[in-house]
């Protein structure tokens, strides 16, 4: 063993073959059994500090109510019907946003994917609008629609639209050209026939993937944002 120690295998994070793993790396790990306990203790400590801050008079309780006040307030809101109303309203404009954004995004993506000219025509506009974050649209949404559910729906539509647009565009452009030639050779040269018989079935997997992403991730994010950032919308 006169050769110098070999370097770690690049990119894998694994030690080079033959290199001894220092035993302390394993011993330092806490037992799996107590990990859940530590996590629970963390939450308890956080709640305790939160409870202490308004009670000790560091912050006025009106601005930061202690966590012990939440259950009573929650029950009161549910009893008064306010809470269910707010949830229902949020769900309604969330659903509208999801449906409009998905349908619009898929339609625009499929059309653009099928026409090179349309893709060129829209490419710079897309590059200009796409990077604008949803939050940056909020002032415009309020100017155009006021503080209304429509404004919240608009923000959701935008986020969902782009995800579905790019998923559908990519899916359509990835359709095997040979299959389009097949359609030509077997008497289906028209764009509509190709769309129905080849493009949509071939692209449907990736389009559904976009739909799921739009539904699951940013959709919820927009929803939460619109609920929490602007309580007026939720209770409107």
């Amino acid at each position: 063993m006169t050769s110098p120690p070999s370097p770690d295998q690049p990119g894998t994070g694994l030690p080079a073959p033959g290199k001894r793993i220092p035993p302390s790396a394993f011993l330092a790990k806490p037992s799996r059994r107590y990990r859940g306990l530590w996590a629970a203790l963390g939450v308890i400590a956080f709640l305790a500090i939160w409870e202490a801050v308004p009670r000790l008079g560091l912050v006025r309780p009106v601005l930061l109510p202690p966590p012990s006040a939440i259950p009573t307030a929650f029950v009161a809101e549910v009893r008064s019907g306010q809470w269910t109303d707010a949830i229902l309203h949020s769900l309604v404009h969330y659903t509208w946003g999801l449906v409009l954004g998905s349908v619009g995004g898929i339609a625009a993506g499929v059309l653009t994917g099928m026409s090179r000219r349309l893709e060129d025509f829209t490419s710079w506009v897309v590059r200009l609008l796409r990077p604008i974050p949803g939050l940056a649209w909020v002032p415009f949404a309020i100017i155009w629609f006021g503080v209304t559910p429509t404004a919240a729906t608009f923000i959701i539509v935008l986020g969902v639209f782009w995800i579905n647009y790019f998923a559908a565009l990519g899916a359509v452009q990835a359709v095997d050209r040979d299959l389009l030639e097949l359609a030509d050779a077997f008497g289906h040269p028209l764009t509509l026939a190709k769309l129905v018989k080849i493009v949509l079935p071939a692209a449907s997997g990736a389009i559904l993937g976009g739909l799921r992403t739009g539904w699951a991730r940013p959709g919820c994010r927009w929803w939460r944002r619109s609920c929490s950032a602007c309580p007026a919308w939720a209770s409107a």
Binding site: L179, L182, A185, F186, G187, H188, K197, I198, P201, A202
Partner: protein, 256 residues
């Protein structure tokens, strides 16, 4: 029944002096009904492009392709059936539905389409696979389905673009014999493109050698040996060797 006259074909090519590459020049061919014609040549010589021109998939630059319809009117039929090197089955359709692909849009009832698809499948010996999915078939079976799809439209002309090129040697021989059998039973006219000279000599009535750049017809041989032909038939072997020699002479002589 098919007359190809003075066909030329060029692709735009910005790198070339006159902005285009001529692929095919002054191609003439007349095909009699029921004839089996093989077109051979090195890969990239424009054989496949020629088929696509005849099928109308690629526009011509000059020349004409005219068809006197052999089988009368085209109601419920299509003028061509095309078989590609890869089977090109649609993975989201069953075998039956893949075979019926060309029948859609012909004004046939659903029952008629189904019946014609199943008849075509029976022709290639896959009647029992109608409800299967393409991924459940072997490579040879997939290519049989592709042949059934082309036959289902009852075409005047069956065009095959190196249809057995991607298959293993044993499957290829089986499918060659099956194709001859199908041809005998359906009396279709076949335009068969291949780079396999032995295959061309074994199958066809006429073997046309395309070579050069732009490609032109360099030779045309008629084979009168009755079928079924022996694969080791000495006359056929001699002809295959002659065609091969011509091709290599052309390549050596800078003809390509």
């Amino acid at each position: 029944m098919i007359e190809i006259r003075d066909l030329s074909l060029a692709f735009p090519n910005p790198a070339a002096a006159d902005g285009r590459t001529v692929v095919l020049r002054d191609f003439n061919l007349s095909v009699a009904p029921g004839e089996f014609i093989a077109i051979v040549g090195a890969s990239g010589v424009g054989k496949s492009t020629l088929l696509r021109v005849v099928a109308g998939l690629v526009p011509t630059n000059s020349g004409t392709v005219s068809h006197a319809q052999g089988g009368g009117d085209l109601k419920g039929r299509r003028p061509y059936g095309m078989v590609f090197q890869d089977a090109r089955l649609l993975p989201w359709r069953t075998v039956r539905s893949n075979v019926a692909f060309g029948l859609e849009g012909l004004g046939l009832s659903r029952a008629d389409r189904r019946r014609r698809a199943e008849e075509a499948l029976a022709l290639v010996g896959l009647a029992d696979k109608a409800g299967r999915w393409p991924h459940q078939l072997s490579g040879g079976q997939r290519q049989r389905v592709a042949i059934a799809r082309a036959l289902a439209v009852d075409p005047d002309l069956l065009m095959m673009d190196e249809p057995f090129g991607a298959l293993d040697a044993i499957t290829r021989q089986t499918l060659q014999d099956e194709l001859l059998d199908l041809w005998r039973r359906t009396s279709k006219t076949i335009l068969f493109v291949t780079h396999d000279i032995d295959e061309a000599v074994y199958l066809a009535d006429r073997v046309i050698l395309l070579a050069g750049s732009p490609a032109t017809v360099r030779s045309e041989d008629r084979i009168t040996t009755a079928r079924p032909r022996a694969r080791d038939d000495s006359a056929a072997r001699a002809l295959a060797t002659r065609i091969r020699d011509r091709l290599s002479d052309l390549m050596d002589g800078g003809g390509i």
